[in-house]
C-alpha cells in the first residue's frame, strides 16, 4: 500500500507540472495587455515601462517560466494582476470557504443519498423506489441557481427562518472574534470552542450547503441503488440470509461495503469538479468563495491568478483521486 501511494503521488507531481506548463504558455499566448492591467488602463508610457520591469516581462519567455517554477517551489504564486494582492493570500481566503461548502454539501449528500439509495434498492419496484428515483433525477437535473433562488425566497424572504447568505451574520462578526485556524469556520469554531459563532455559521451554511448537495445526492442515491441491486442478487447474500443473519446487518454490513467502491470514485471526482464550480451557488448566497474569483480571473485574463487556481485544483484532483483509489483498494478483491 505504501509503495502504491508513493507511486501515485509521484504521478501526481508529473500531472501538476504538466498543468503548470500548459497553463503558463497558453495564458501568455492569448492577447492580453499585462502592463495595462498592472499599471492601469490609462497609464502613461512611463508607468507601463515600470510595470513591465516590475513584472519581469522584458525577459524571454523561457526565463519567465523558470523563474515562475523557482517561485512556485518556495510557495510564491505571485500577485494577481487585478488586485495586486498575493495570490496565496487570496486563495487562503477563498479556498477554505469553498472547501467548507463542498465538504458540508457532500456530507449532506452522503447522509441523505446513501440511505435513499439503500431503501430504493430494498424496495425495488415499489412506490418508495419510484419516488426516490424521481427525486434523484430531479436533484441532478434542476438548475442550481434556480433551486438556490427558490430556497432563498422561501426560507429567507417568506419564512425568514434562515439568513439570506454570507458565512455569518454581521452582528456575530462584530461581537465575537472570528477564529482562523483552517479557514473553515465550522471546524475552527469547534476547535476553539466558540459555540455561539458555531451556531451562526451553521445556520448560514444550511441553504448553500444543501444546494451544493443536490447534485451529489442524486448521484450517490442512484449509484448506491444500482450497485446494491447488483450485489443483492448475488449468491452470497442469499447464503447470508439463509444463515439467519438479520436483513439489516446483511444490507449495511455486507452489501453496502461492496458497493462503496464505485460510489466512492464518483463522489471523489465530483467533489473535485465542485471545487471550481460552485460559482452559481456562491453568487446567490454571497458566499466569499473561489467561484467568483475564478470567473473574474478568467474574464480579465489575470493569468497569475488563473495559474494559482489551476494549480490548486490540480492538487486537489490528484489527492481526491488518490483517496478514491485507496477506498477502492480497501476491497481485498482488488490487487494493487
Amino acid at each position: 500500500m505504501g509503495k502504491y501511494i508513493i507511486k501515485r503521488l509521484l504521478n501526481g507531481l508529473i500531472v501538476l507540472l504538466g498543468v503548470v506548463t500548459i497553463t503558463f504558455f497558453i495564458t501568455r499566448v492569448v492577447p492580453s495587455d499585462v502592463a495595462g492591467k498592472w499599471a492601469g488602463e490609462r497609464a502613461t508610457e512611463e508607468q507601463r515601462q515600470q510595470a513591465i520591469a516590475e513584472l519581469g516581462l522584458d525577459k524571454p519567455l523561457a526565463t519567465q517560466y523558470v523563474n515562475y517554477l523557482k517561485d512556485l517551489l518556495s510557495g510564491d504564486l505571485g500577485r494577481s494582476l487585478r488586485t495586486k494582492e498575493l495570490i496565496t493570500k487570496e486563495l487562503a481566503s477563498y479556498f477554505p470557504a469553498t472547501m467548507e461548502l463542498v465538504l458540508v454539501g457532500f456530507l449532506f449528500a452522503l447522509f441523505v443519498g446513501i440511505p435513499m439509495g439503500i431503501y430504493s434498492a430494498k424496495k425495488n419496484g415499489k412506490m418508495l423506489d419510484h419516488a426516490t428515483r424521481f427525486f434523484s433525477i430531479g436533484a441532478v437535473s434542476l438548475p442550481t441557481f434556480w433551486v438556490a433562488m427558490v430556497f432563498q425566497l422561501v426560507f429567507y424572504r417568506i419564512l425568514n427562518w434562515l439568513p439570506l447568505g454570507g458565512r455569518m451574520s454581521i452582528n456575530a462578526s462584530l461581537l465575537y472574534e472570528i477564529p482562523n485556524v483552517t479557514g473553515m469556520l465550522i471546524i475552527d469554531c469547534i476547535l476553539t470552542g466558540s459555540w455561539e459563532l458555531l451556531g451562526d455559521a451553521f445556520v448560514h451554511i444550511i441553504m448553500p450547503g444543501f444546494t451544493i448537495a443536490l447534485y451529489p445526492i442524486g448521484l450517490v442515491a442512484r449509484m448506491t441503488r444500482s450497485a446494491l441491486l447488483e450485489i443483492l442478487n448475488e449468491d452470497y447474500i442469499t447464503a447470508s440470509k439463509s444463515y439467519g443473519i438479520r436483513e439489516g446487518k446483511v444490507l449495511w454490513r455486507y452489501a453496502l461495503k461492496n458497493s462503496l467502491g464505485a460510489t466512492a470514485t464518483v463522489v471523489a471526482l465530483s467533489m473535485g469538479y465542485s471545487l471550481t464550480n460552485t460559482f452559481l451557488t456562491e453568487t446567490i448566497f454571497s458566499w466569499p468563495g473561489l467561484g467568483s474569483y475564478v470567473s473574474k480571473s478568467v474574464t480579465t485574463l489575470d493569468y497569475p491568478a488563473i495559474m494559482g487556481i489551476a494549480i490548486i485544483s490540480a492538487i486537489f484532483y490528484v489527492i481526491l483521486n488518490l483517496i478514491a483509489d485507496i477506498i477502492i483498494a480497501l476491497d481485498p478483491r482488488i490487487r494493487l
Binding site: 492569448v30 499599471a39 439570506l164 458555531l198 466569499p288 474574464t299
Partner: protein, 521 residues
C-alpha cells in the same frame, strides 16, 4: 463507536443551531448601515493605487484637499481651507485645516500631504498619472503646501479627484500596499470612518472615528458594512426585508418590485459616464463624412434608452456629460431620422452593396449586444450590412490598436468617464492625435483641434471660461463631422431605504456616497 460519534456531533450542531437562532449573545446597540454592493467592494484599499470600486470605502476613510461640487461646478474646500496660484498657473499654494487628525492621532499637516502625494506618484499605479504635470511639492510652513508644475495646471481640480488624491498619515505612507489590505483593518485616513475589518474581496466593516473634525450627529451610523452581493435579486431581498439600506444596479423585474415597495425609494442617478461609438476615419467607408452622418442618423437613440436600457441611460448631448463644465447643451447631436440617413447616404456616394461594416463590441455587456442588434436592423433598411464582433476586453482593444488601419474595426464602442472633474479627459484621450492609437479610436488627426485642446488645458487654471469655450469648439467640430458619437449617458439605479436620510450621489465620485451624511430616522 463510530455511530455514537456521529450522533454526538449531530446533537452538538443542533444545539448550537438553537444557540445561533436565539442570538443569545445580544445585538450591537447601534444601528448598522448596510450597503449591498453589486461587485467586489474593492480591489485594493491602498489609496495611492486603487482605481476601481474601492472608492466606496476610501471616500469615507480618507479625504482629499478639495472636493468637486457637482451642482455648482465649483471646487470646494475639504482638507484645504483656501488656495492661491501664480499668474501663469504653475505654482499653487494650499492652506490646510489645522484641526484635522488622522486615525492614529497624528495631525494632518503639509508634511503629510507632501508625503502622501509623493507616495502616489512614486508608486505610479492606478490614476497616479493625474499628477503628471507636478514637478515638486514643498512644505512652505506647517499648514501650507506648494505644488510647482511644469505647465499651467488646475491643481485644485486634481486634488478633488476620486482616485489617487487621498491624504494619509505619514506612518501609513511608509507602509506597503499589503498593509492596507490586511483583514484586521488598517488605514491611515483622516475621514469619518476607520476600517474595522475586512474579508478579502468580499466585505468591509467601517466604524466611526470619534476624533473626526466634523460633528457627529445623534442619528449618524457608527458602523457601516459594505458587502458583495452579486445577484440583483439578492440585493433586492435585502432591501425588502430592511436588512440593507442602500444598493444599486438592479434588473428590470427587481426595479419594478422595488418601486412598488413603500419601504424603498428608487432613484435614477446621473453619472459622468457615457457610451461612445468611434468610426474608423482611416478606413473606407467610414473615412467618408456623409457616410458617417448616415450612420449617426440611423442609430435608434430613444428606442435604445426605452427598450434596451429601460431608462438606465439618457440622451447624450455632446462628448462632455451634463453636470460637468464643458458640457454644451447646444452641441450638435444626431437624432434618429431614417430620411436624413438616406439623404446623407446618397450624398456620400458610397456603394452600399460593397460595404460590410465590422462593429466591435466588448463581450459581457448585454446592453451593447442588444443595441448593436437593434441598430443592425435599421442599417439593413438602408442596405448597409453590419457584422457584430464580440471580444473580451483585451482582444477588443488590441484589435482597435492594430498597426494598420485596414486591420482595425469600422465601428468601436467604449464607455468613458473622466478621472476627475475636467473635460480634458475626453479630448486629450480620444480626440487629440496619437502616434499609435491608445484611446483615440476614431484615429482623429486634426492639428487645429490638437492646438485648441492643448491651449484649453493650459488655460484651465487661469481662465476657465476660455478653456471651456475652446473645448466646446472642438466638441462641436467632432460632432459636426460625426467622427465619434455619444449614444447615451449612463444612469444608475439606486434603491435606498426610506428609513434613512441624507443619501446623495455625486457623479464626480463614482459608485460612492458619503456615509457620514446619512442619518437614520
Amino acid at each position: 463507536m463510530k455511530k455514537s460519534l456521529v450522533l454526538m456531533l449531530t446533537i452538538l450542531l443542533a444545539a448550537s443551531l438553537f444557540a445561533g437562532c436565539g442570538q443569545g449573545g445580544g445585538t450591537t446597540s447601534d444601528a448598522i448601515l448596510y450597503y449591498a454592493c453589486g461587485s467586489e467592494p474593492y480591489l485594493t484599499l491602498d489609496p495611492s493605487v486603487e482605481n476601481s470600486n474601492g472608492v466606496c470605502v476610501l471616500q469615507n476613510v480618507y479625504e482629499t484637499l478639495t472636493r468637486y461640487n457637482d451642482q455648482t461646478g465649483e471646487v470646494e474646500p475639504c482638507l484645504a481651507t483656501s488656495w492661491t496660484h501664480s499668474d501663469d498657473g504653475t505654482v499653487w499654494d494650499f492652506t490646510l485645516r489645522e484641526d484635522v487628525t488622522f486615525h492614529d492621532g497624528t495631525k494632518m499637516n503639509a508634511n503629510a500631504v507632501k508625503k502622501s502625494i509623493e507616495r502616489t506618484i512614486g508608486l505610479g499605479k492606478g490614476a497616479a498619472y493625474i499628477w503628471a504635470n507636478v514637478e515638486t511639492i514643498e512644505v512652505v510652513s506647517d499648514y501650507v503646501v506648494r505644488f510647482t508644475c511644469s505647465a499651467s495646471t488646475s491643481v485644485d481640480l486634481i486634488t478633488s479627484a476620486a482616485y489617487a488624491a487621498y491624504i494619509m498619515s505619514e506612518s501609513a505612507c511608509d507602509q506597503e500596499s499589503d498593509w492596507f489590505n490586511n483583514e484586521e483593518g488598517n488605514d491611515g485616513g483622516s475621514g469619518p470612518y476607520t476600517v474595522k475589518s475586512l474579508v478579502t474581496g468580499d466585505q468591509v466593516i467601517l466604524s466611526a472615528y470619534d476624533g473626526y473634525w466634523q460633528e457627529w450627529k445623534e442619528s449618524s451610523y457608527k458602523t457601516v458594512v459594505i458587502k458583495k452581493h452579486v445577484e440583483s435579486s439578492t440585493r433586492r431581498q435585502l432591501l425588502e426585508t430592511g436588512d440593507a439600506q442602500i444598493a444599486y444596479n438592479f434588473s428590470t423585474t427587481d426595479i419594478s418590485a422595488l418601486k412598488a415597495n413603500e419601504k424603498v425609494d428608487v432613484k435614477y442617478v446621473n453619472t459622468y459616464n457615457n457610451i461612445l461609438l468611434f468610426f474608423n476615419t482611416e478606413k473606407e467607408p467610414c473615412n467618408n463624412e456623409e457616410f458617417r452622418k448616415a450612420l449617426a442618423y440611423s442609430f435608434p437613440y430613444q428606442e435604445v434608452i426605452d427598450g434596451v436600457l429601460e431608462n438606465r441611460g439618457q440622451l447624450s448631448r455632446g462628448l462632455v456629460t451634463p453636470g460637468l463644465w464643458g458640457h454644451d447643451e447646444n452641441c450638435t447631436q444626431y437624432e434618429f431620422n431614417m430620411d436624413k440617413a438616406r439623404e446623407c447616404l446618397a450624398n456620400s456616394g458610397v456603394d452600399v452593396s460593397a460595404v460590410n461594416l465590422e462593429f466591435a463590441i466588448q463581450s459581457g455587456y448585454t446592453e451593447y449586444k442588444d443595441f448593436a442588434q437593434l441598430w443592425q436592423t435599421y442599417l439593413k433598411e438602408l442596405g448597409i450590412n453590419m457584422e457584430i464582433r464580440e471580444r473580451g476586453w483585451d482582444a477588443h482593444i488590441e484589435h482597435a490598436r492594430a498597426t494598420r488601419p485596414e486591420d482595425r474595426q469600422d465601428i468601436f464602442v467604449m464607455i468613458w468617464w473622466p478621472d476627475y472633474a475636467d473635460p480634458s479627459s475626453w479630448f486629450q484621450s480620444m480626440v487629440h492625435s496619437e502616434e499609435s492609437p491608445a484611446f483615440n479610436l476614431s484615429y482623429i488627426k486634426n492639428a487645429e483641434w490638437d492646438a485648441k485642446i492643448e491651449e484649453a488645458m493650459q488655460l484651465t487654471a487661469t481662465d476657465r471660461a476660455s478653456a471651456e469655450a475652446l473645448y466646446k469648439e472642438v466638441q462641436m467640430g467632432v460632432l459636426d463631422g460625426a467622427h465619434m458619437i455619444p449614444v447615451y449617458d449612463q444612469v444608475i439605479t439606486y434603491a435606498v431605504s426610506t428609513e434613512i436620510d441624507g443619501f446623495y450621489y455625486n457623479p464626480a465620485y463614482p459608485n460612492s456616497t458619503l456615509y457620514f451624511n446619512i442619518t437614520h430616522k
